[in-house]
């Protein structure tokens, strides 16, 4: 395989020559130049212009067709009228009519370059006049100039056989334009493009010439390979691009591209070591850990020697991350600690900062493992560690790390239930940094944080909007992980409103290729499972739910996502409650609470647990027992401004008050809470609040002395029952619906409306029947 030069590079050189020949008219200069530059510049330097969109669609390895599409529409500035640039271009490439002409072609390349002062002086001595001012000369250091010079040098260092390979590949490459070219130029001979064969035909005759051609060009291999059309330079570029994409977006290589890659790499003798890295990434993403270990070690074995030991820490870092993913936390921590010390030794600040950042997050996720190692002296206490990281990041100009440490601080504040203002401050700082430095990759965490914050503050609308904004604007440049998480959050919100189908749709619409990555796929599958589990629970399809739950619980190991595992646990408890297995539910709650206390987990979750415990007491018929729990939950939630949780706690409190026959107080609380709670758009909370309110009014009706007041309360009851019923039916919660129906029927009977009572009772039965039918 060629190192650098390919037929398409010759084409580009010819195009550059066309440009310097001033054949390109002024109007078409920009498209032509941008076409060439697009091929020459490395990927990360390219700006995303709108007019580049057309160029983006070009194949990576440009063939003749690509040249034609670019060149054919432009007329030439000189020469015969009616000739396009494409004709001029063809003339250039068909003028290379022998191997020698190819050598001459490359030998002539320096003529395109502006002469240095020394050369001008030398020319002056030789009597060669300096080039005129109006000629287009390429500066030696311009992208074009360096391309021309590099091509020249690369051609010179080719061995003869490589030059031959280039020549044969070139003849094959331009073959496609032969028909057009010969039509334009009158009939061309059989041997157009090879002057020696054309001359030889007169001497040798047709047959012998053909034979010679076969011998020389080796026409015996039948397959139409594009051998020689790909250089290792191209491959390296391609690999770099791919690795970058994989690291940036976090997806795997699409299958069809993988096959192509394999084909190209098989051809080359020198396999770039980067390809091992690519394999490593792919294997890692696909969850094939043995292969990924293998490939990672292979990559570093091959790179170690030519890049010295300077990169040792990066090897360790990759290894640590991989180990962590693999579940070998102890090894991961050990490797990362070594990374840190090596990075310190080598004064590699970026690496050190990254490693520390990783360590911090790892510590957050797996506190019990970090505890084992004496790493506390490394980063100090959490907050100090973060501050340290932030300062370091600022010093070394690592904007990503800086903003991520700010976000971490915000998150820390959030989970500890600290001042909302401080959290906002951190978020704003980070946001400023992201916008200022154009760190597109950090947009995901930033938006996720915003969305979470608004959700905690009870403004679900805003929270959802942030998610939508991210998905429609930033998802393209962000890690797929972020996309998935935010999609999950939106789906969750939708499910809370009872739009199960819509939520499911959202999840289904994710990029299929990106989902091939193992971890992502697991997350996605779990999320879908959770959604279905919720629906089943609400529909009272307990058998189906049990089945789903057993699967989800199985995969709810320590390495799974903490948010998800909490969600699964809550649903488990819900399931147990619906099964009326209160004892086990209680045990489960206790277990969760104790493990949470150990880890110092998110305050929001703790409140949720407390609320759940209080509710459970209520279910057991001993609501008063949950009083202290509920009060604690409410006070914590109030302090931390966790609004939805606060309303939940308040609901429980109100219920307890109702059980103590303090109906008025209960109704008061509920009446004041309800409008705010409706903002949260959480149907189950609303339904619960409404049903508690019904209870409170019912109680008040019972306490009422005069019938008027009683009637009034009963009407209010009916009203709220309807609303609760509506919320329950939005959730498709059959049990709740039935309860409401039963209450309604009872009220009707109390009021004396027998017919209506009968109607509601039959509606209740119908609902029951329906639910059994669904099951």
């Amino acid at each position: 395989m060629a190192r650098y030069l390919t037929p398409s590079k010759i084409g580009l050189l010819a195009l550059v020559e066309l440009y310097t020949d001033a054949i390109v008219p002024t109007s078409s200069t920009i498209p032509i130049l941008s076409f060439v530059l697009n091929q020459l510049l490395p990927n990360n330097l390219k700006s995303q212009h709108n007019d580049m969109a057309a160029l983006q669609s070009l194949p990576f390895l440009i063939d003749l067709k690509a040249f034609e599409t670019v060149l054919a529409p432009h007329p030439a500035a000189s020469g015969l009228p009616g000739r396009s640039l494409w004709d001029h271009f063809l003339k250039k490439i068909w003028d290379i009519d022998s191997l020698d002409a190819l050598h001459v072609f490359f030998a002539r390349r320096p003529n395109l370059l502006a002469k240095s002062r020394d050369e001008l002086k030398k020319d002056g001595e030789m009597g060669i006049p300096p080039p005129s001012e109006d000629m287009i000369m390429l500066s030696r250091t311009s992208p074009f100039g360096s391309f021309v010079r590099r091509s020249k040098v690369e051609f010179e260092r080719l061995r003869f056989s490589d030059a031959l390979a280039l020549w044969t590949a070139f003849t094959k490459w331009r073959q496609g334009s032969k028909a057009y070219w010969s039509r334009r130029n009158g009939a061309l001979g059989r041997w157009a493009g090879d002057s020696v064969l054309a001359q030889g035909e007169e001497e040798w005759g047709m047959e012998a010439t053909e034979m010679l051609e076969l011998v020389v060009f080796g026409g015996l291999d039948l397959e139409d390979t594009d051998e020689g059309c790909v250089s290792s330079d191209d491959i390296e570029k391609l690999l770099e691009f791919q690795v970058e994409q994989m690291q940036k977006i976090g997806s795997r290589i699409p299958t069809e591209i993988k096959d192509k890659f394999k084909g190209i790499l098989d051809e080359s003798i020198m396999v770039p070591s980067l390809s091992h890295y690519l394999n490593f990434l792919d294997a890692w993403r696909s969850g094939d850990y043995p292969t990924s270990f293998d490939n990672l070690h292979r990559y570093f074995d091959y790179t170690m020697q030519n890049r010295d030991r300077l990169f040792y820490q990066y090897a360790l870092m990759n290894l640590a991350v991989l180990q962590a993913d693999f579940g070998c936390y102890d090894e991961a921590v050990a490797a990362m600690l070594e990374t840190i010390s090596t990075a310190r030794e080598n004064k590699d600040n970026p690496c050190l900062n990254f490693a520390l950042n990783w360590m911090y997050h790892f510590g957050k996720a797996h506190p019990n493992i970090i505890k084992g190692t004496d790493s506390t002296n490394m980063l100090g206490i959490e907050r100090e560690g973060l501050a340290f990281l932030r300062i370091k990041a600022k010093e070394t100009g690592m904007w990503t790390l800086w903003s991520s440490s700010l976000l971490s601080e915000a998150k820390l504040g959030m989970s500890n239930g600290e001042s909302v203002a401080t959290i906002f401050e951190n978020l704003l700082k980070s946001s400023h940094l992201i916008v200022d430095k154009n760190i597109k990759s950090m947009m995901g965490p930033q938006v996720a944080m915003y969305s979470a914050l608004w959700a905690r503050l009870g403004v679900t609308q805003l929270s959802r909007q942030y998610g939508d904004v991210f998905l429609s604007c930033h998802a393209r440049y962000a890690l797929f992980d972020d996309t998935l998480r935010l999609t999950g959050r939106i789906a969750h919100l939708l499910a809370e409103k009872g739009h199960y189908d819509h939520a499911m749709e959202k999840l289904e619409s994710l990029d299929e290729n990106a989902l091939r990555s193992w971890k992502v796929n697991q997350y996605w599958l779990k999320y879908r499972g959770i959604l279905r589990l919720k629906r089943d629970l609400h529909r009272n399809d307990l058998d189906g739910a049990g089945q789903l739950l057993s699967q989800l619980l199985q995969s709810n190991g320590p390495d799974s996502d903490s948010d998800l595992s909490f969600e699964i646990n809550t649903l488990h408890i819900d399931y147990l409650i619906r099964r009326t297995d209160y004892g086990r539910a209680m045990a489960r709650i206790e277990h969760l609470a104790s493990s949470m206390k150990e880890d110092g987990d998110d305050i929001n979750l703790r409140i949720k647990l407390l609320t759940m415990k209080a509710l459970l007491q209520d279910k057991c018929g001993r609501p008063q027992k949950g009083f202290s729990v509920a009060v604690r939950a409410a006070s914590i939630a109030w302090r931390a401004r966790l609004i939805p949780a606060l309303w939940g706690a308040m609901a429980v409190l109100a219920n307890i008050l109702a059980s103590l026959s303090e109906f008025k107080a209960s109704a008061q609380i509920l009446n004041s809470v309800l409008p705010r709670a409706l903002e949260c758009e959480n149907c189950s909370l609303n339904a619960q609040l409404f049903s508690f309110l019904v209870n409170a009014y019912m109680g008040m009706a019972g306490q009422a002395k005069d019938s008027l007041k009683r009637k009034e309360n009963l009407t209010k009851c009916l009203d709220f029952i309807d609303r609760a019923f509506n919320e329950y039916s939005a959730l498709e919660d059959i049990k709740g619906q039935c309860e409401m129906m039963a209450k309604k029927a009872t009220i009707m009977r109390v009021v004396g409306e027998k017919v209506l009572a009968n109607d509601y009772a039959s509606a209740y039965l119908a609902l029951k029947k329906e639910s059994t039918l669904v099951v």
Partner: protein
């Protein structure tokens, strides 16, 4: 020399036999050569089927056996029959290039070491057997006669075994040699098996020697091997004797002839030894080939070549000879045409394409040379010929480092690749690495003493180093090899001139003049190509040089005559040329050959001159000044104005004109 049916059939059968016999003995190149020749015999007619069967009946019954031939000698035949299985094993091993194992099939190492240890160190050929036999008897286990005791083997097996030993030695030699032109590459690694083989063969021949000094019943192959071994040992006289004996016994072994060619370094040697050779078609071809190797290009040679071509009309070997013949006469166009034709007939044949690349190089046909390089590289990248062609191409592109690299590769593949050594020398000269250049030229000459280019290159290099005495020596060698090449004589002449030996220098340069006209007109005409005939114009440079030397010798008349002649070359017209040549003749006292150019050039002169060159301008200037000195102002005036017109050294010419005008006017006044 057309042959009749019967003779053709004989020839064909003999060649068939040769192919089989050579390949039986693993002489692949000889077999290839014979087979090429065999297929190039024109089959008599379309109706050759029945005739063929008649023809083949003559020497052999039916078809020639492909695997093994029978032997006419009954004793040998019996031996061969007995050894057939071992023989087949040995041959397969040889084909797999396991030489030592192959040799050990027939001659286990114990036998060979026995010979080595007991043989007397003296290198005698006739009187040793008895003494050696005695020594031998003590060491070997059997002691039947006390004579040289070799295992009783057929000659074929013996040849194969010893040849395998020889090849193994060559292989080891190649492996032991250092990198080409590396610090330790003295070119003096030797084949360590030579002594063993020589001793063994010595003994073998001595054992069977009859009164007339020939081994009885020998079939020629072992003699060939012995000759080859002796030649490697630089014992050339003796080697030649054995080789001649071999071709007498079996003449269809082309390898043997090739060995002889490489031993002949002068035409005289060739002529002297040709009386000892058997008279058959092979010796005819040998004569032709060797003459070509010695850069001969006489009409007789051309004649004999065309005769051979009537028998073997499509033989690539002979076509190559044809092209080389044209090349040696500097008729590049014809040579190119011949090679080109050869290429179209045998596109996969790489042999001697390196010569073709030299021709294309000289003609500066870059596209064609690139195509040739492409072809060679596609057929086989790792043949010395391919590497030389590629090297030549790079040299033409002025990438001398790369050229050197490829020549080196050629030499790594085959250290005896003569042209690569020479060409590498040229490249080193271009790279101004005179030390390396001298070394590689020296190696070229060591490989083959007939390479005039290497000698010439050596001379040139020493001239660059301003060591004229050395340069002269080498130039003389080159001129001796190519007496009809003006360039050589010119080099000799200018060298002599620089050493201040003007008289000799003049002589040499005059020869150069003659030689030029000889090739240009004489030979060119005789081949009827006439492509690059320059009509017998002489090189004005040389004329100027001669004139200059005469001037230094203070022979004004001669100097002036030569200056006139030099100027006359501008027109190159026939009449003054005639005069000038006569002028030379009257002057020269050298041999009779010099009458030829006059006759040659007399004919079809196109009258195309060289035009104004630096040399003629200088000559004109000299003449003008001379005319001034002698007072011939009108002439001086005429010459000076001509100079002004020519546009060379205008200033000086104008000054001259002014001066002449002054003088003329002054003269008029007086």
């Amino acid at each position: 020399m057309p042959l009749n049916e019967r003779e053709t059939a004989h020839l064909r059968a003999a060649l068939q036999g040769a192919v089989v016999k050579c390949s039986e003995r693993c002489l692949y190149q000889s077999a290839k050569w014979a087979a090429e020749l065999l297929t190039s015999i024109q089959s008599s007619d379309t109706s050759s089927e029945p005739e063929d069967s008649q023809m083949t009946e003559v020497p052999l019954e039916g078809l020639p056996p492909i695997v093994v031939t029978g032997n006419i000698d009954p004793e040998e035949a019996q031996l061969e029959a007995r050894e057939i299985n071992q023989y087949l094993l040995a041959k397969s091993l040889f084909d797999c290039r396991e030489y030592d194992r192959c040799a050990a099939v027939f001659l286990p190492d114990t036998v060979l070491s026995g010979i080595l240890s007991t043989a007397t160190p003296k290198n005698q050929t006739t009187s040793t057997p008895k003494g050696k036999g005695k020594g031998k008897a003590s060491s070997t286990r059997t002691s039947s006669t006390g004579m040289f005791k070799a295992p009783r083997l057929s000659q074929k097996s013996l040849f194969l075994a010893l040849y395998a030993k020889f090849m193994s030695g060559e292989k080891k030699k190649d492996e032991d040699s250092e990198m080409v032109m590396g610090p330790h590459d003295g070119g003096n690694t030797i084949n360590k098996q030579l002594v063993t083989i020589a001793r063994f063969l010595e003994g073998w021949f001595a054992e069977r020697e009859s009164e007339n000094g020939h081994a009885t019943g020998s079939q020629g192959w072992l003699e060939y091997l012995y000759g080859m071994v002796l030649a490697k040992d630089k014992n050339e006289e003796e080697a030649m004797r054995w080789l001649i004996r071999s071709v007498h016994l079996y003449s269809f072994n082309w390898g043997c002839w090739m060995e002889m060619t490489s031993l002949i370094s002068r035409v005289e040697d060739l002529n002297r030894m040709s009386t000892h050779l058997p008279q058959n078609i092979l010796s005819f071809i040998f004569h032709l080939h060797t003459s070509l190797e010695l850069y001969q290009s006489t009409p007789t040679l051309a004649n004999s070549l065309s005769q051979l071509l009537t028998i073997f009309p499509t033989s690539p070997f002979l076509l190559t000879c044809l092209a080389l013949l044209a090349y040696h006469t500097k008729d590049f166009v014809t040579a190119d045409a011949h090679f080109s034709n050869l290429l179209s007939l045998h596109p996969h044949r790489l042999d001697s394409l390196d010569h073709y690349s030299n021709i294309l190089y000289v003609m500066n046909l870059r596209p064609k040379l690139s195509f040739l390089a492409h072809l060679c590289s596609s057929v086989d990248k790792f043949r010395p010929e391919s590497c030389v062609v590629i090297g030549n191409y790079y040299s033409l592109l002025s990438s001398h480092e790369k050229a050197v690299q490829y020549f080196r590769r050629a030499l790594t593949l085959d250290r005896t690749c003569l042209s690569a050594w020479t060409l590498m020398g040229h490249e080193y000269v271009e790279l101004k690495n005179t030390h390396a250049a001298i070394e590689s030229y020296r190696r070229a000459v060591d490989v083959n003493r007939r390479d005039y280019r290497a000698w010439y290159g050596l001379g040139q290099t020493y001239e660059v180093l301003e060591m004229h005495a050395y340069a002269l020596w080498y130039y003389k060698r080159a001129a001796g090899l190519r007496p009809w090449d003006g360039k050589m004589w010119m080099a000799v002449g200018s060298c002599l001139q620089k050493m201040g030996r003007d008289l000799e220098g003049i002589k040499a340069l005059k020869r150069a003049l003659l030689a030029d006209t000889y090739y240009d007109a004489g030979v060119g005409n005789s081949f009827g190509s006439g492509g690059r005939e320059r009509g017998g114009t002489m090189d004005p440079e040389i004329l100027l040089q001669i004139a200059g030397m005469y001037e230094r010798l203070e022979d004004d008349v001669e100097a002036r005559a030569y200056m006139e002649m030099c100027v006359a070359q501008e027109e190159g017209a026939a009449d003054n040329l005639e005069a000038s040549i006569i002028n030379i003749h009257s002057d020269s006292q050298s041999s009779d050959e010099e009458s030829r150019p006059g006759a040659g050039t007399g004919g079809g002169d196109s009258g195309a001159g060289t035009g104004v060159t630096a040399a003629t301008s200088k000559a004109r200037m000299w003449l003008a000044k001379h005319a001034m000195r002698t007072g011939d102002y009108t002439r001086a005036m005429q010459l000076a104005t001509e100079l002004c017109q020519d546009g060379v050294e205008v200033e000086e010419a104008k000054a001259l004109v002014r001066e002449v005008r002054v003088r003329l006017e002054g003269g008029g006044d007086q």
